[in-house]
């Protein structure tokens, strides 16, 4: 429903982590989408999506209703919802699926929404930023706009769990051997390199409960990436970004692990390839220095 003659238009839902902790992701998404002719409409009065694990464990009914409330805001605007976060994506995709396929649940959820004078009919679709790039805007269009191809750049792609699974609901790509993000990386002119633990979770969800486990998973992941010797890692989720970038830096400081692999959100690399100036401050917000890779691309 989002397609209009002038281009693509979405209700934009950056999510808590991007808005508050990693706003540089939001900047890169906004700029690259605008360049590619997509319009992002801000959503008023939204809240946490809510995050896909904790609220659901505590009370599924609450999780469903809060998500449906956010979706109802996009429906009211009349646009599909677009998010740069795998967590928000997982929540919205799943709740939307339940509402579209389960009449009984839909009625129950709307009974709750009535108490806040809202209704969600289930008319819109949920899209991740990289999904919109792949399916709506398309590789051809991106290719045409590229000014600085990422030549000689090797990239380790990390999909993140909720971008793909549960595949029965998400239906974006093969949950064991996906390719669409690798394709998006290669369209920019870079090379996607394989590594052993490509489909392994980043472990970020365990930071709150058992940091040791979260860091062990991270080490496992980074060691495997290091073997492939890429220039950088690409992610599609702020929590993966925090885990792979910020906590990689922490591992280096505290445990003298020297991985030193810069991490980018996909849209940042897209901006570089499109020759969009993100400003001097932008990449300083990364914890693992990204300057060298950025220079390598900009100079090309």
């Amino acid at each position: 429903m989002a397609e209009r003659e002038t281009g693509h238009k979405y209700a934009f839902f950056p999510g808590c982590l991007v808005t508050t902790r990693l706003p540089y992701i939001e900047a890169a998404v906004r700029k690259s989408m605008r360049r590619l002719g997509a319009e992002l409409v801000d959503m008023p009065e939204t809240t946490c999506c809510p995050e896909p694990t904790l609220t659901k464990a505590l009370n599924q009914k609450t999780w469903l209703a809060i998500a449906a409330r956010n979706l109802s805001i996009a429906e009211e605007i009349g646009l599909d919802i677009l998010t740069p976060c795998n967590g928000c994506y997982g929540t919205f995709k799943t709740v939307n699926y339940i509402i579209k396929t389960n009449e009984k649940e839909r009625v129950k959820i709307n009974d709750t929404l009535k108490k806040v004078n809202r209704e969600y009919k289930g008319k819109i679709q949920v899209k991740h930023v990289v999904e919109a790039l792949y399916k709506d805007i398309g590789k051809e269009r991106i290719k045409k706009e590229i000014q600085k191809p990422l030549k000689n750049i090797k990239i380790a792609v990390h999909y993140g769990c909720h971008l793909l699974r549960p595949s029965e609901i998400i239906q974006l790509d093969d949950p064991e051997q996906p390719t669409f993000l690798d394709e998006l990386v290669e369209v920019l002119g870079a090379k996607s390199v394989d590594y052993e633990r490509k489909m392994m979770c980043c472990g970020g969800e365990d930071l709150k409960i058992h940091p040791q486990t979260a860091y062990s998973i991270l080490k496992e992941k980074l060691s495997s990436i290091k073997e492939a010797d890429p220039d950088c890692i690409v992610v599609t989720c702020p929590l993966c970004m925090i885990q792979l970038d910020e906590n990689q830096a922490l591992l280096q400081r505290r445990h003298r692990q020297n991985f030193n692999i810069p991490v980018f959100y996909y849209s940042e690399l897209l901006c570089l390839a499109l020759n969009i100036n993100l400003g001097d401050q932008h990449f300083k917000l990364h914890r693992i220095k990204a300057d060298e890779v950025v220079k390598k691309i900009v100079k090309s």
Partner: protein, 167 residues
Amino acid sequence: MEQGEKLRKLKEIKRKALICFQCGVCVGSCPVAFVNEKYNPRRILRNFLFNQSPPQLNLSNLPWLCLHCYACLERCPQNIGLSEVMFKIQHLQFLNGEIPSSFLNAVKQIIKTGRVSPVTPITERRREQLNLPKIETETGVEELKKIIKETGLKKLLFSQEEEKRSG
């Protein structure tokens, strides 16, 4: 929460676990089990199969380690949907007051501010630097609070705290 309701939920988990033939495919797919041998999703299910409905689950914090990465759900030959079952186990633990305080605090943060992470002066400065729109005042929070109340989570959180105090 009434004991009867808890038992009903426990039985529901047992019914799901019944067809688990303990093959261990979930363990082989699980990133947590890979680095932390104390965590074993197959064993967690087995305990549900053998134990008679205990008033306290005494599962320790282990089930909360599940990342809900859905790797096991994709691969389980019995299609048990283990990560979904893990949600139900966590829910039951929550009803029993067996929930890590860091998780409770995270939920309280959402209820209070409508977000998982707070808007700090640093956030605002960074957004300004990046030419991003100002964060609107939390107009959605009142509705969120109403939903938390209507769906019973507020009451559950309250009785959970009571339980902690008396236990």
